[in-house]
Structures are given as structure tokens and as C-alpha cells.
């Protein structure tokens, strides 16, 4: 392999490189000093069509079997040049990029320095190319089915898009109904169209789509496998109701005596029964028994008997008109089902910051201090007050409402350091909804900044201020306390430099959007990364915004970070298109840059000593154990094996291996040392 004919192509990158690097000199020096480099040239834009043609032509004309392109980062165009090489019949893994732009021409203003460093970098890469071996893309079969975790707007949109593309989708939702937070909202900004009117049809569409299988009241138990071939276990929590038999006739929940349970859907502002559907438009429109609060289950737990043997209350089962077998089954147990999918979209959403964190605002202590989502329920036509704005404590119409923005957001000392992004807009919306319903009422808003970047957003918030008459005060609130029937809000108006004291009837906290409590667990189950705030991490914030750190797993919606509905829907569509692309072929081609555990002839079999340190460091759960067996089936040796489907080629295992039994294809020791040895130390 030492006799490779190597061609070096130095790119000007316009003036990005050529302004501070003498590219002609680099080409010249390279040819002069590196035996084996048989051809060098420079070109203004190597990545352009003529540039790529030059590369292809010279590979053929000069009979090159190794190529170095000295240009920008391999992250940018390694793929481009390797593809160009494939067209000439050259194995793409004989093409390497020497990056003389990002950490070279851009950072060294003096031409001699940039030129010398570029020459060194090119020499290093020519030495590596000498050792490059042909690698062939790994082919993985694809299960043409997708899993969507979460049934909010992100999950529904992604599922619909995939289903419309002709593939099966399995949707898992942990609540009794799909719909998520969007189903709770009253109206949506910046158009004030009713959330229910745009959300519920989508829910119906998802439910009726033949390609979508829905598992509500279910959670992900475990995820194994790799891109194209995931095996997922789903826990279908005991609903106590047979979904096939139940018709959703409502007889059961109308007779349930436990009617004072706080409704989660109404954010605690309304009540529900123990056997219930979360909201009238729920899908499936079939109930679930809340076993924590149902008196029958409480009795069964106390007496340690099977629920069906308890005689405390059987009103719901008695009321069930289904015969001969009732649709209610008290003894139903959790069921674990296993599905095989080729791709996964995570759309697990967010939670609202707990109101107890801000004791000084009286959240959780005063009934009339409510959160943004609670206000949505108050303003919603399907909410506990049927859309009439009544304050929770005494049902009176509040005449002065104070809205406090950034409760938890942008507050690294107490809450979250990030901006929740939606609160400026929804608070503006809240003031409008309030003013539309309470004409003589007055809305005050305390804000840090008004951040309304989005199409039609700025106009919307200006409308709240100028046309709807909300009073915006720039400053923080220090305290909210009760004085008689009023809530005294103490704040600062930093524009006038004065202290403001408002006696309000109701206070609405624009509480931060936070990652779900179990976001870390789901990330661990999926072997994907999450950030300091427990939001799931995309692999590249700009160029790969929906890809997780594990191949075949994509992110949609607020599980990845705070975002509004339009952005969530766009991201869900993007994730779905990635999944569709993945499911479009029968086999997947994976880059063959994967780790490999050494195998040898008997009697050694492998130098691997089976310590499995590699397994501990692998972030992708790609290391498996394998028994090397004799013909009679007895185990000779247990060694590590890399699952090519899961391996992302990070090289941690190779660096960790104590017996030097793991090599990373494309970056093996020989190649790396060749590069290092090519550096001339002065």
C-alpha cells in the first residue's frame, strides 16, 4: 500500500483560504517533498461542479488511488468529495480532507505562518492516506414501521405525516387520551383561533388513520436494537376498561361517587370522577379507572384482596350496559407488548414549572394566583367555568388581573437560565382573552423584555398594548400577598424608576416550560443525550436539529426545548420526513467507520480478554458479548463484539481497550500514528 499514487487538491475557498495561505506554494512544496504524491493542483472552489469534475478527471487521468483535498472542515464536504470519488470507481475511504481553513487560514493572519501550517497539515494527511484501506458501507435491513412516543401535537403531526407516507406508526401516549397540552389551550396566538377546533380534528384523523396504531395509558418499558431494527417493549397500564368492548357511552362515569378528584386536564381547577375520560373530546373516548382514588381499589388494597372481590362500590360495573361480558374489568393487569420498529420519534413534551417554587408570589398558597395553563382552562369554552373568567376562590369576576412574566424563566438563581420563548406571546394573548370577556377589566403585565420574534408576533403583542389596553410595566414583582379579598402585588417599574403596588383580584404567573420529570429516564432508555436542563439534545443545533445522538431516533416538539405550536409542528414534520427517508429503502447503508474487535485464528481466537471496559464507556450501548464456541457447543472464550448498527464510531472503546483488541475502521492506530509521525517538530 506504500506505493499509492496520491493526488492533492488545494482549494482557495474563494479568498477564505487563499487570502492568508499561499495555496500555490502549498501545492508545490507538497509535490516536491512527499514521495508518492504524484499530482497536485489548486482550484478556486473545489466543492463546485467544475472543482468536483477536476477531481474526478484527475483521478482517472493520473490513475490516483489516494486523494487529499486541502479545504474546509470534513464536517462540511468530506461527503461531497467521497461521493465524487465513488463515481470514478475509487473506494471513498481513500479520500481524506485536510482542513486548512477553520483552524488555519481563518486564525493565522500572516501568510508565511498559514502557508507553513497548511503544508504540514497536508503532509500529515498524505501519510494517513497511504495507510487507508478500502471500506465498504455496512448494510442494515430496515423494519418499515415507526414508533412515536407522545401523543401531543408533535407526536400526532409526526405520526400523521409518516402514516400519509404509507408506513405503519405505533403511537404511545402515557395519559388516557392523546392531545397533550395543546388540547388544554383556549385560543392560540397570533390568530386567536380556538385550539380545540384545530387540535381535535387532528386527533380524530390520527385515531382513524389505518396506518396508526394507538396505545394510550401506556409507557415505554425498554428500547433495544439499532437504527432500522429497534425492539421496543411497551407497558400497557391496566386501564380497568376493555377498549374493544367499551362504547364510551358515559354510563359509568355518570354514576361514579368519587366526584371530587382534581382534574389534571383542568389543572386542578375542576373536578373529575374516579372512572373518567380526561375531557369530553378525548381520544379514545373511553374511560380509565384512577386506581389511586377509586374507593373500590382503596378498599381492595386495605384488605389485600383482589379488586373484583371488593364489594364497597360496584356502581360503574353495574351501570355498564355491555352484555354479556362487561367492558369494565377491575382485575385487569398491566400488559407488556413487544413491537419492532425501524425508527423512533420522541415527542414527550414539557411540563409547567411547579408553582410552589416561587413562595413570594403565593403560588400554590393563594387560590387566585394561577399559572398560565390554569388561565387557559379558565378561558376555554370546555373548561371548568365554560370560558367565563371567574377567579377560583369565590367565583367572582376579577376586575384587575396582574400577569407576571418570566416566572422561573431567565432566572438562573431560582428557576431556569433559559427563556421559555412562548410566555411573552401567551401572556399578550391572555390579556386579550381577558379583555374580550371582561370589558371593564384591567390587565397589568410585568415583564423583563417583550420577546415576540415570529411572523405576526410583534404585531400581536403591540395589539395587546395599543388596541386592547393592557398596561405593560417593565420590572419584576417582588411579592404577592393577600389583603382581605385582594392580592397586593408589589413590583418595580424600572422605566419610571418607581415602586408599583397593585391591588389585584387575580394573578397569573407565566410559568416556565420545563423538561418532563422523567426526561432523563426516557433519554437513558433510548441512549440519547440530554442537556443541563434535561431537554433532549439534537446532535447539531443548526444542521441536524431533529436528529438525536443515536441514529434512527429523532426529536420533535418541546421535549427538545421550549417552543410554540408552529415551531413544534414544523419540527414534527421535519422529524417525520427523516423517518420517511429512512424507511424508504429496504436496506440502510451505514458509514463503515465503526469499531471492530480483533479476531484471530485458533488457538488465540481473539486478543480480547473479556474485561468489558469498552461496554462501560460506550455511550451508544453498542458493545455486546459473544461466546466463541467449540464444535460441541462448549464456550471457549467470551469476548466483546461491536454491534455495527449501533456503533457511531466515536472510538472511546478503542482508546479504553487494555489489550489493544479494538480498532476503529478508518482511524486505526497505524493511520493515526502515520499522521502524528508526519509532523516535523522544530
Amino acid at each position: 500500500m506504500g506505493n499509492k499514487k496520491i493526488g492533492v487538491f488545494v482549494c482557495h475557498c474563494g479568498t477564505n483560504i487563499s487570502a492568508t495561505v499561499d495555496v500555490e506554494k502549498v501545492a508545490e512544496e507538497t509535490k516536491k517533498n512527499n514521495p508518492g504524491v504524484s499530482y497536485t493542483t489548486t482550484y478556486k472552489y473545489m466543492c463546485s461542479d467544475p472543482g468536483q469534475k477536476l477531481l474526478r478527471d484527475k483521478i482517472k487521468e493520473e490513475g490516483l488511488d489516494g486523494v487529499v483535498v486541502a479545504a474546509c472542515s470534513p464536517k462540511m464536504h468530506e461527503h461531497t468529495f467521497r461521493n465524487a470519488a465513488i463515481k470514478t470507481g475509487l473506494n471513498p475511504y481513500h479520500v481524506e480532507i485536510s482542513n486548512i481553513r477553520e483552524q488555519c487560514s481563518w486564525v493565522h493572519p500572516e501568510i508565511p505562518v498559514g502557508t507553513e501550517k497548511s503544508t504540514d497539515l497536508v503532509r500529515m494527511m498524505t501519510e494517513k492516506v497511504r495507510k487507508d484501506k478500502s471500506l465498504n458501507a455496512i448494510k442494515v435491513p430496515v423494519t418499515k414501521r415507526a414508533l412515536v412516543i407522545g401523543g401531543g401535537i408533535a407526536g400526532i403531526q409526526a405520526a400523521l405525516d409518516i402514516a400519509d407516507g404509507g408506513h405503519e406508526v405505533i403511537m404511545v401516549e402515557r395519559e388516557a387520551s392523546i392531545g397533550g397540552h395543546m388540547a388544554q389551550l383556549s385560543e392560540t396566538f397570533p390568530t386567536l383561533d380556538c385550539s380545540q377546533c384545530i387540535m381535535t380534528p387532528k386527533m380524530v384523523e390520527a385515531a382513524q388513520n389505518d396506518n396508526i396504531t394507538m396505545h394510550t395509558w401506556s409507557e415505554i418499558e425498554s428500547v433495544d436494537g439499532y437504527i432500522g431494527n429497534f425492539t421496543v417493549k411497551i407497558r400497557k397500564k391496566a386501564r380497568s376498561v376493555d377498549l374493544d368492548l367499551c362504547t364510551g357511552c358515559s354510563s359509568c362515569w355518570q354514576v361514579c361517587p368519587c366526584s371530587k378528584i382534581k382534574s389534571e386536564f383542568d389543572m386542578g381547577l375542576g373536578n373529575r370522577t374516579a372512572i373518567y375520560i380526561p375531557f369530553p373530546q378525548a381520544i379514545p373516548s373511553k374511560p380509565v379507572i384512577d386506581r389511586e382514588n377509586c374507593i373500590l381499589f382503596k378498599d381492595a388494597r386495605k384488605k389485600n384482596i383482589k379488586p373484583n372481590d371488593s364489594k364497597v362500590c360496584r356502581k360503574c360495573i353495574d351501570a355498564c350496559p355491555i352484555a354479556p361480558v362487561k367492558a369494565i374489568d377491575y382485575n385487569q393487569e398491566d400488559e407488556i407488548i413487544e413491537v419492532k420498529v425501524g425508527a423512533i420519534i420522541v415527542a414527550t413534551g414539557y411540563k409547567e414549572l411547579e408553582d410552589g417554587l416561587y413562595g413570594e408570589y403565593g403560588g400554590g398558597k393563594y387560590e387566585d394566583v394561577i399559572t398560565g395553563l390554569q388561565f387557559e382552562r379558565l378561558a376555554s369554552a370546555s373548561g371548568p367555568t365554560e370560558g367565563v373568567i371567574k377567579r377560583p376562590s369565590d367565583g367572582k369576576e376579577p376586575e384587575i388581573v396582574v400577569f407576571i412574566q418570566c416566572v422561573g424563566s431567565r432566572d438562573p438563581a431560582k428557576g431556569c437560565s433559559y427563556c421559555s420563548k412562548t410566555c411573552c406571546m401567551y401572556t399578550a394573548k391572555h390579556t386579550m382573552l381577558y379583555k374580550h370577556k371582561v370589558h371593564h377589566g384591567h390587565a397589568f403585565v410585568f415583564y423583563i423584555d417583550i420577546r415576540c420574534a415570529g411572523k405576526g408576533y410583534e404585531e400581536f403583542s403591540q395589539r395587546a398594548i395599543e388596541e386592547e389596553g393592557a398596561t405593560y410595566l417593565r420590572g419584576r414583582v417582588s411579592r404577592v400577598y393577600k389583603k382581605g379579598e385582594k392580592l397586593v402585588v408589589l413590583g418595580a417599574d424600572t422605566l419610571t424608576g418607581s415602586v408599583v403596588e397593585i391591588e389585584a383580584d387575580m394573578v397569573v404567573l407565566a410559568s416556565a416550560m420545563k423538561a418532563q420529570d422523567d426526561a432523563m429516564e426516557i433519554a437513558q432508555k433510548l441512549s440519547i443525550q440530554y442537556d443541563k436542563d434535561k431537554f433532549l439534545s439534537e446532535i447539531h443545533p443548526k444542521l441536524k436539529p431533529v436528529e438525536s445522538s443515536s441514529a434512527g431516533i429523532f426529536l420533535a416538539g418541546t421535549c427538545q426545548g421550549p417552543k410554540d405550536i408552529p415551531e413544534t409542528v414544523a419540527q414534527a414534520g421535519a422529524a417525520a420526513s427523516k423517518v420517511l427517508a429512512l424507511l424508504s429503502s429496504d436496506e440502510l447503508e451505514r458509514e463503515p467507520v465503526v469499531a471492530r474487535v480483533d479476531r484471530q485464528l485458533p488457538p488465540v481466537f481473539s486478543t480480547c480478554i473479556g474485561c468489558f471496559y469498552c461496554q462501560k464507556v460506550c455511550p451508544y450501548s453498542a458493545i455486546e458479548s459473544e461466546d466463541i464456541k467449540a464444535r460441541d457447543g462448549s464456550v471457549i472464550k467470551t469476548v466483546a463484539r461491536v454491534n455495527e448498527g449501533l456503533c457511531q464510531g466515536c472510538g472511546l472503546c478503542a482508546a479504553t481497550c487494555r489489550s489493544k483488541s479494538i480498532e476503529l475502521d478508518g482511524f486505526n492506530d497505524e493511520q493515526i500514528y502515520a499522521e502524528i509521525n508526519a509532523v516535523e517538530f522544530n
Binding site: G359, E360, K365, Y481, K482, K483, G484
Partner: protein
């Protein structure tokens, strides 16, 4: 018997509550109560100003050195804990202790100035902590009087709780330690809103108008919540609510006439210690109604 087994606690009175000063009834009652139910308090020998007010507003090193000298004296006497009933003192001592722990250079400068080492292993506690940690069982055991329907608003002010990350005492937004102690005396703590609001502190002299407004809000809130008395554990709070009360009434045209008592005085009354020995005759607003409730 149990009390004798405990090590003595270093007592740091500070300027406000020491004998002969404006709030001596706080100090007197703290000592009188500890004589009765322990733990034994021993005054730190040769203590000096804690560096509050003027010193810490003008010279950080000086105010730290003043505080640390007291702590070093206590260390040398072998105390494991210092009680500083005045929250200005306890706050200054704790903050100074943290400042030298966090800053090697400051520690050295201060040690050079006071010519004593400072190890930083003495724990500084306020009066509520002392009672909660050592005296709750003793109060229950030795309580002789239970007041008849005495409703008390517990007022913490700011210095007992803030800054919360340094003081680490109780919930800064909704503290409940004083309520527990008031309950132990048999009085009834009322639920009210302004227990951690600012009383205006030292601005009582320079910006009396601001202080009158702040204290009026506090008094109004306590009275409206049905309190018969306000309990405090800070001489500054006491001065603003008690001494200024007549002026507040005049300014805002509302009669409060609500006694403001130290928590130590309330404990003393429950133990049936004489009102005069507790200094209850030294208040501006007559405390007779409180004393009589314990009759």
C-alpha cells in the same frame, strides 16, 4: 440533668440587647429563660461590636475583622456554638465566617489584624434555632401557664432569613419556626401575610416616612389577621413596631395598640417568670394584655 451534660454555649449579646442598651429586655429575657430551662449560656469574654450597620456599609475588611474577632474569642474559649440573639449580629457573624472561608487572603489579613487565628468551626445560631434545637421539650415540661386565647402574629423580618443561601435557616418565604415556639407556649399563631416583609430597619432615622409606611402595612396586616400581639426576635423590628407605633397611628389615622413582644418574653411568661424580670415593663406599647392572658 440533661442540660448539665451539654457543653456551654457562647453568648454574644451585641450592642443592642446588652444591659443598659435600648433593647436590654431582649437580652434580659433570653438569659432569664436560659437560667430556667437551659442551655447554659456564657458571655464571650471581651466581645466587641459585630460590625453591623456603619462598619459593614463602609469597610468590608474592618467589619469582617470585627465579627471574626468575636468568633476567634469564642473558639479560644472552646465554645462549639455561639448564640447571637440579635439577627443583625448573627447574620454578620455568619457572613463574615463564610467570607473568610471563601477568601484565603481576607482570612490572612483579618487574622493579622486581630492577632488571633480563626478556624471557622464554631456554629453561630440565632435565638429561634437555640430554642428549636435545645428547648422544645423543656418548655413542654416546665410550662406553668397557658394563655387564654392569645393570638400572636410571628414577625421574622429580613435578617433572620436572608440571604437564605448563606444563613440556611428555615424557608425564606414562609418560615414556621417561630410559630412552632409560640404554639409551645400555648399561644395561637395566626396565619398572616407579611411575616417576612421589611420593617425599614435602620432607615427609621433617615427615611422615617418610608419606615412608617412599611411598619403600618405590617401592623395593619397583623391586626386584620386577628392578632392580639406581635412576636419578634429582632431588636430592630421591635424598635420600629413598638417605639414607632404611636407615630404610625397618628400618621395613618388608625389605632392599633398592639403589644410587640420578644419571643423570649413569651416563653418566660409561659414558664411563669415575673414580667418585670423579663423586661415587659420596658415597652412603649403596654404589654399588660399579654401578661394578663397568661394569668
Amino acid at each position: 440533668m440533661q442540660i448539665e451534660e451539654r457543653t456551654k454555649i457562647g453568648y454574644y449579646p451585641g450592642c443592642a440587647i446588652t444591659m443598659g442598651s435600648s433593647s436590654e429586655e431582649y437580652g434580659t429575657s433570653v438569659l432569664r429563660v436560659s437560667e430556667e430551662i437551659g442551655p447554659e449560656l456564657e458571655e464571650i469574654h471581651d466581645w466587641n461590636c459585630c460590625g453591623a450597620s456603619s462598619a459593614h456599609a463602609t469597610n468590608h475588611k474592618l467589619s469582617t475583622a470585627l465579627s471574626i474577632r468575636n468568633i476567634s474569642l469564642a473558639e479560644q474559649s472552646g465554645f462549639k456554638e455561639i448564640l447571637a440573639p440579635c439577627p443583625m449580629c448573627s447574620q454578620r457573624l455568619i457572613i463574615s465566617q463564610k467570607d473568610v472561608a471563601d477568601d484565603e487572603k481576607l482570612k490572612k489579613d483579618v487574622e493579622d489584624a486581630i492577632e488571633m487565628p480563626c478556624n471557622g468551626d464554631v456554629k453561630i445560631i440565632n435565638y429561634l434555632e437555640l430554642i428549636k434545637n435545645y428547648c422544645m421539650d423543656e418548655i413542654a415540661e416546665k410550662k406553668k401557664k397557658t394563655p387564654k386565647d392569645l393570638k400572636v402574629a410571628c414577625y421574622y423580618g429580613c435578617l433572620l432569613l436572608r440571604p437564605p443561601k448563606v444563613l440556611k435557616f428555615d424557608d425564606p418565604e414562609n418560615p414556621t419556626s417561630m410559630e412552632e415556639i409560640v404554639e409551645a407556649t400555648g399561644a395561637i399563631p395566626v396565619d398572616w401575610e407579611l411575616k417576612t416583609n421589611c420593617c425599614g430597619g435602620g432607615f427609621t432615622l433617615s427615611r422615617t416616612d418610608v419606615v412608617l409606611k412599611l411598619t403600618n402595612d405590617i401592623l395593619e396586616c397583623a391586626v386584620d389577621a386577628g392578632a392580639d400581639a406581635i412576636a419578634v426576635a429582632c431588636p430592630m423590628c421591635h424598635a420600629n413596631l413598638d417605639m414607632r407605633q404611636k407615630k404610625i397611628e397618628k400618621e395613618y389615622n388608625r389605632k392599633f395598640d398592639i403589644p410587640v413582644v420578644y419571643i423570649s418574653e413569651l416563653i418566660g411568661l409561659a414558664l411563669d417568670l415575673g414580667p418585670i424580670s423579663l423586661g415587659l415593663n420596658k415597652h412603649f406599647i403596654d404589654t399588660e394584655s399579654v401578661v394578663n392572658a397568661f394569668a
